[in-house]
């Protein structure tokens, strides 16, 4: 039987954004003079030409069903100019050229259940990943974690009550697609993978699995006559890197897969140079549907940050100023041997001075 007629793709690649851009933005492309913040969730950018564009930012669930998407489009048509922009954090932004449209637009969004905010020194929407909903290796969910936390952080989303903008991220496995941020809620496995030896031989390219292990804990082995893999459990750091290339190396566990919280990831070059996240809490139960233990720690950290930081200090800058011992003091989080770095270059994270606060 003849193969079906197949259509050749048009390799158009990345579409031109100008065709979908608000005319005021098109006209004033590269001509912006400054912006102001009339209220949380609303920005007005003023062009050197004198033209202005208002932005109303609202939070979404990121994964939109067609009903919700259309609801947002209706709002955009009725109260806006029919032009939207999505931020890197999946917030939707409505762009309008007429100030008079702002307040009605804001109310329409709030009434429809889309909170307006997330600008300036607020806690903006947590960035998240796929989780149990779609990924093939997740240790936890993503959309659910974000929903649960944003329910509790809504006041901080809708106001300007933080010392500086707060960027929180979540990821559903140690690969960390969600990125890092001021606070990162990540998966931390605590047991080596359980290997389903029966399957390894057929499913996994053993050399590349071996190569994937960051600490060379995997070696090829024959198990009951079948080619399989063996893990040196003393060496294994339970990172799960072997799992994607080899699903029989089951890393996930309903108990041993836990959450860890990291702080101080800062990508911006403002003031200090970009910084990496640092571990502050682990051993946190992976507890659906609302992950209350993780949420409690995040809220505690935010409260201390709000209390202790100066305006414009990001979380890392605040802690670096007061010192890490003080951070553990004020948050009441335990300091353990696990906080002491032992990865490559660990030395750089140890105190080789007498600078100590008493």
């Amino acid at each position: 039987m003849a193969a079906p007629e197949m259509r050749d793709p048009i390799e158009s690649g990345c579409p031109d954004g100008f065709q979908y851009m608000h005319p005021v933005m098109r006209r004033n492309y590269g001509l912006w003079a400054y912006h102001e913040d009339p209220r949380p969730g609303v920005l007005v950018h003023v062009s050197k030409t004198g033209e202005k564009i208002w932005t109303v930012r609202a939070g979404t669930q990121r994964i939109l069903d067609v009903f919700t998407l259309r609801k947002l489009m209706d709002i955009g048509d009725t109260y806006g100019d029919g032009y939207v922009h999505f931020t890197i954090r999946s917030n939707i932004e409505f762009l309008v050229a007429d100030e008079a449209k702002v307040e009605p637009l804001v109310s329409a969004l709030e009434d429809a259940g889309f909170p307006v905010g997330g600008t300036r020194n607020s806690v903006t929407t947590l960035s998240h990943t796929q989780g149990w909903l779609h990924c093939d290796i997740p240790g936890t969910d993503a959309s659910g974690v974000v929903k649960a936390m944003m329910d509790e952080l809504l006041p901080e989303f809708k106001s300007w009550s933080m010392p500086n903008r707060v960027h929180i991220t979540t990821s559903c496995c140690q690969i960390n697609c969600g990125g890092q941020g001021d606070i990162a809620i990540n998966v931390q496995h605590t047991k080596p993978p359980k290997i389903n030896h029966a399957l390894v031989g057929n499913v996994c390219e053993r050399p590349s699995v071996v190569a994937r292990c960051p600490v060379a804990a995997i070696r090829p082995a024959m198990v009951d006559g079948k080619p399989s893999l063996e893990v040196d459990e003393k060496k294994c750091i339970c990172c799960g890197a072997c799992y994607p290339p080899c699903p029989p190396m089951q890393i996930n566990d309903h108990q041993a897969t836990q959450l860890a919280i990291w702080i101080g990831g800062n990508h911006s070059n403002a003031r200090g140079k970009p910084t990496f996240q640092r571990l502050v809490a682990a051993g946190i139960p992976n507890n659906p549907p609302r992950w209350p233990e993780a949420t409690a720690i995040v809220k505690k950290i935010l409260a201390c940050y709000k209390e202790g930081a100066k305006d414009w200090e990001r979380i890392n800058e605040w802690v670096e100023r007061i010192g890490w011992p003080r951070f553990f003091e004020v948050t009441g989080l335990p300091f353990t041997k696990y906080h002491i770095d032992n990865w490559r270059g660990a030395r750089a994270n140890l105190n080789s001075s007498t600078h100590i606060r008493f």
């Binding site: 259509r7 050749d8 793709p9 048009i10 390799e11 158009s12 690649g13 990345c14 579409p15 954004g17 100008f18 065709q19 979908y20 608000h22 933005m25 492309y29 590269g30 912006w32 003079a33 912006h35 950018h45 669930q61 990121r62 994964i63 069903d65 067609v66 009903f67 259309r70 955009g76 048509d77 029919g82 939207v84 890197i88 259940g113 889309f114 149990w132 909903l133 779609h134 290796i137 659910g144 944003m150 690969i175 960390n176 969600g178 990125g179 960051p214 990172c239 309903h254 108990q255 990831g265 990508h267 911006s268 070059n269 403002a270 003031r271 659906p288 549907p289 100066k310 414009w312 490559r344």
Partner: protein, 431 residues
């Protein structure tokens, strides 16, 4: 006759609370969507997700599918519990490249929703962490049709697998006074030069481009992309002294000390002057600002605090950092400065940046190990070998500080020094 619904006691909890609930959205599809295919698919999806919540385990596995003519762009998902939830046992995601900058008209989004509704689950994400529109949930029969349909009106797949990935660029020049470059043009010039590498995975591993118009880096480019383009400027920042004076009084007012000039000045000291990483900015007694532009490191802070008073300069361009990525397999890497400054104005300039990207990807494709990111390769071979491989001269702006361990082989020093002096002489001559 309504299909039976899988019970979702745990998920139901996520309908409570003020934040928009994805579960409510799912249920609406399950309960109210006219198309039985969608209703039952979502019913199955909810059933499997509830099962995951209850057992704290995931149940999707991968596979390999792609649209005709392409090698990647789709994340295939087959359920490991398809026997329990057959309705959603195939649930593939199509990664579709967004317009550079993520701008949409409501009409276009409606059109996309209509197409997706016809073939898929009715669930889409704006956007994934790499920037794609993710159309989540098509079965093996329908995904090709959906692609064919939207491809006809201008949409193409993004990357998945060891290939050039979908790019990201900040809103930048379209709506941001901090912008130093045409993010939109850079994004498209780079990505669309590599369309073939996006669609046909054949590299050691993934390669990502991200563009931020200024050092605030709203795209997290330095840590989350292999090739980070960040706008910056070389000449003096612009100071609107009148606006400075206004700002001082405005701040005084904001902190409840209307008219108290010294209170406003104090605010300036505490929030601007004293926060400059290089002490490059000074508030004079007459309330004017003096910027030591030679020592300003373009951190953006003072501009961020007073966007009305301070503006980036005119001699704009970009800094390029190579090798950022996340955790696997040696821990997070930030990109390293490889091009301290480059103009991006003329056609030639754009050709130059595309060529640079090409050279880097070629060198990496040659020398990278399987599943080794560009940054991991640089870490393995050393920055100098990488620079030599892509034929770029060492520059002190590439380092935080010189080496502090004497374990280095310095024969060849004299030649290297000579080269430096020659370059300097040429620069002088050129200037």
């Amino acid at each position: 006759m309504a299909t039976k619904h899988y019970p979702t006691p745990m998920l139901d909890v996520l309908e409570e609370g003020p934040w928009p609930s994805f579960i409510s959205g799912f249920k609406k599809l399950r309960d109210e969507h006219p198309d039985e295919r969608i209703r039952s698919t979502i019913n199955g999806l909810l059933g499997q997700l509830e099962h995951s919540y209850e057992t704290r385990m995931g149940y999707w596995k991968g596979g390999t599918i792609s649209v005709f003519g392409y090698g990647g762009g789709i994340i295939p998902r087959f359920s490991e519990v398809g026997h329990m939830f057959p309705e959603s046992k195939e649930f593939h995601t199509l990664r579709v490249q967004p317009p550079a900058g993520n701008y949409y008209t409501t009409d276009m989004l409606r059109q996309l929703a209509d197409s997706w509704e016809k073939w898929g689950s009715g669930l889409q994400t704006f956007h994934g962490q790499t920037g794609n529109i993710m159309f989540i949930g098509a079965n093996s029969v329908n995904y090709q049709h959906f692609f064919d349909e939207i491809n006809e009106y201008g949409w193409d797949l993004g990357g998945a697998g060891p290939c050039v990935r979908t790019g990201m660029s900040c809103i930048g020049a379209a709506r941001c006074e901090m912008s130093n470059c045409n993010e939109h043009a850079i994004h498209r010039r780079l990505l669309n030069n590599f369309t073939d590498d996006v669609h046909r995975p054949a590299l050691p591993y993934k390669f990502k481009f991200k563009v931020s118009g200024c050092p605030n880096d709203c795209q997290n480019a330095i840590e989350r992309s292999d090739f980070a383009v960040i706008g910056t400027w070389r000449d003096d920042m612009k100071v609107n002294q009148e606006a400075v004076k206004e700002m001082i009084m405005k701040k005084a007012k904001e902190i409840g000390k209307e008219g108290d000039r010294s209170a406003g000045r104090q605010y300036m000291f505490d929030n601007v002057i004293s926060r400059c990483p290089t002490n490059a900015i000074k508030l004079n007694d007459d309330d004017t600002l003096t910027v030591d532009n030679h020592n300003c490191v373009r951190c953006m802070h003072c501009l961020n605090v007073m966007p009305k008073a301070l503006q980036v300069g005119d001699d704009k361009g970009v800094t390029i950092l190579i090798g950022g990525k996340r955790t696997l397999k040696i821990g997070d890497l930030m990109g390293t400065v490889v091009i301290p400054f480059m103009k991006l104005e003329t056609e030639e300039d754009y050709e130059r940046i595309v060529e640079l990207a090409q050279t880097i990807i070629d060198f990496w494709a040659e020398n990278g190990l399987e599943h080794e990111r560009c940054g991991e390769m640089i870490e393995r071979i050393g920055l100098v070998n990488f620079l030599e491989g892509i034929d770029i001269d060492p520059d002190p702006n590439m380092i935080k500080q010189p080496r502090n361990v004497s374990y280095v082989r310095t024969d060849g020093w004299d030649e290297a020094a000579e080269e430096w002096f020659n370059r300097k002489r040429e620069e002088k001559a050129a200037a």
